[in-house]
């Protein structure tokens, strides 16, 4: 049985699975039920000046019959007064002293506002704070949320203000609606952040109704951009976590967020540098009980790998995450079709012929039976055929040992630089 306890910047949790600051963590009733189900921690729905929400605040994208491939919300922070939330936080912490409660907070970019809310919230016994610099809708228009999170100087300054008075760890939650999240992550670290969390939701519009021409969602026929999350955003979030994890200037723990639906997703985020993970959409889709499979699955995985503690898994894939320019250009893989497994649907041929390198041939053997074959000398190893193939194991990507030594793009450019001229072609 592996040890799933984590310590994220001094915040202890019985396991790495936290609920993210969102509708599931709106009230004490919900957080307490989540803890009963097994969640290790919860980031309380963002506290601040209570807002007013609209109806029709969620929308989802389904894909090929699978519901909630992506999820969009135009819901804002808490609509309940601070005192109501603080009372419920106090009661929840008293009932569940060993589970982590982190208070997400958002106020205007003024020092006295940050001082006030940090002191008042810390008094009720939270284990830490998460500064919300990421809400992309509603709050950004008021100079808060993503409007702060897109300006490194504001991230640094507000983090510093919170840290001036906080006695518990401060996590800074970053927006992905930015060119380079490492810039704001570095700013948070400069401001004194004990950890960073990412990603918040992505600016999005879910769709348009083809009959009414209304946006989806809409409020009485009018729409506004919302925040996108759920399984569809996982690759975006995973990359951002990885980029921060491999940045030497971001030397604080990371709480990974973005489309985590099961233990495998969680393990991937941990491998890419997250000490713990936060979940929202999957809990909204399936309920709090999903954490049971997450705990069991992660436990079994660690046991199979012979890893004693989940903390030993953190960042193990980060050294493998590189810059494009440092990838080996002379590494070669080619596709090989297993004709025993292939069902001759020809999807690989169609994709390759139309959109890749035209190297999969439709042939007929001596018995008149059709089969598909890759012309390996023309195959560039792009993976497209194996991606579109509907049959597991029908196409393998096989490494071909090269006579040539490894050479990266950066090495290439560096070597030919000494020969480079401004001449024109003859």
């Amino acid at each position: 049985m592996a040890d799933l306890r984590i310590n994220l910047a001094g915040i202890k949790s019985p396991n790495p699975f936290w609920l993210a600051s969102a509708p599931p963590t709106n009230s004490g009733y919900q957080v307490q039920r989540a803890f009963e189900a097994g969640w290790g921690g919860a980031v309380w729905k963002t506290l601040g000046d209570p807002i007013i929400n609209t109806t029709s605040r969620f929308a989802a994208a389904s894909f090929n019959g699978k519901k909630v491939a992506g999820f969009n919300n135009i819901e804002l922070i808490t609509d309940r007064p601070l005192e109501v939330n603080l009372k419920e936080i106090y009661e929840t912490k008293k009932r569940f002293p060993d589970h982590a409660i982190i208070a997400s907070i958002m106020v205007e970019p003024k020092q006295e506002k940050w001082h006030e809310i940090v002191k008042r919230v810390e008094d009720v016994g939270v284990d830490g704070f998460e500064l919300n610099f990421g809400c992309p809708h509603g709050m950004a228009e008021r100079g808060m949320g993503a409007a702060s999170g897109q300006v490194p100087e504001l991230v640094e300054k507000q983090t510093y203000w919170a840290k001036e008075v906080a006695k518990t760890p401060v996590i800074v939650k970053l927006t992905p609606n930015i060119t380079d999240i490492t810039v704001t992550a570095e700013a948070a670290v400069r401001g004194g952040a004990d950890a960073v969390s990412m990603i918040n939701t992505i600016n999005s519009l879910m769709g348009v109704d083809l009959d009414s021409w209304n946006t989806v969602p809409n409020v009485a026929g009018k729409g506004a951009h919302g925040g996108y999350c759920g399984p569809a955003v996982k690759p975006i979030a995973l990359n951002m976590v990885g980029e921060c994890a491999r940045n030497p200037l971001i030397n604080v723990p990371i709480s990974g967020i973005g489309g985590i639906s099961n233990w495998k997703d969680a393990a991937e985020f941990i491998l890419m540098g997250s000490t713990g993970v936060q979940v929202c959409t999957a809990a909204m889709h399936h309920g709090f009980s999903i954490v049971e499979d997450m705990i069991d699955g992660l436990n079994n995985y660690l046991d199979e790998k012979g890893i004693v503690s989940v903390m030993d898994l953190v960042g193990k894939s980060v050294p493998k995450y590189s810059n494009w320019g440092d990838l080996d250009l002379n590494h070669k893989v080619v596709a090989r079709i297993n004709n025993d497994t292939c069902i001759n649907c020809n999807k690989c041929h169609i994709s390759c012929e139309d959109t890749s390198h035209q190297c999969i041939e439709m042939l007929v053997d001596a018995n008149g039976k059709s089969y598909l074959k890759v012309r390996e000398e023309d195959c560039v190893g792009c993976n497209l055929c194996s991606i579109v193939c509907p049959v597991d194991g029908a196409i393998d990507m096989v490494e071909i040992k090269q006579a040539l030594p490894s050479m990266t793009w950066n090495q290439r450019q560096s070597r030919i630089a000494s020969f480079m001229t401004e001449k024109v072609a003859k």
Binding site: L329, N330, H357, R375, E377, D378, L404, P405, M407, Q411, R412, R415, I416, F419, M420, T421, E422, K423, V424, A425, K426
Partner: protein, 71 residues
Amino acid sequence: MSEYETYMEEKNRIDSYFDKGYQVISIFENLSGTFVDFVTGEGASEREVVQLQLITAEARKYIATKLLFVS
């Protein structure tokens, strides 16, 4: 001609020049690919400069690999 066949032609030309003792004196790259100027080696009776245009990605990798690890 397939891209592989084009590459093999370009590779063979590169190898041929190196085998004959030619040396690379300049390389430039533009929208049309990589242009490599070879000059006859020391000891050649006549100095000759020839230019090779490489249009395949594999050949453009190959010339750099030769320069990086052979010369």
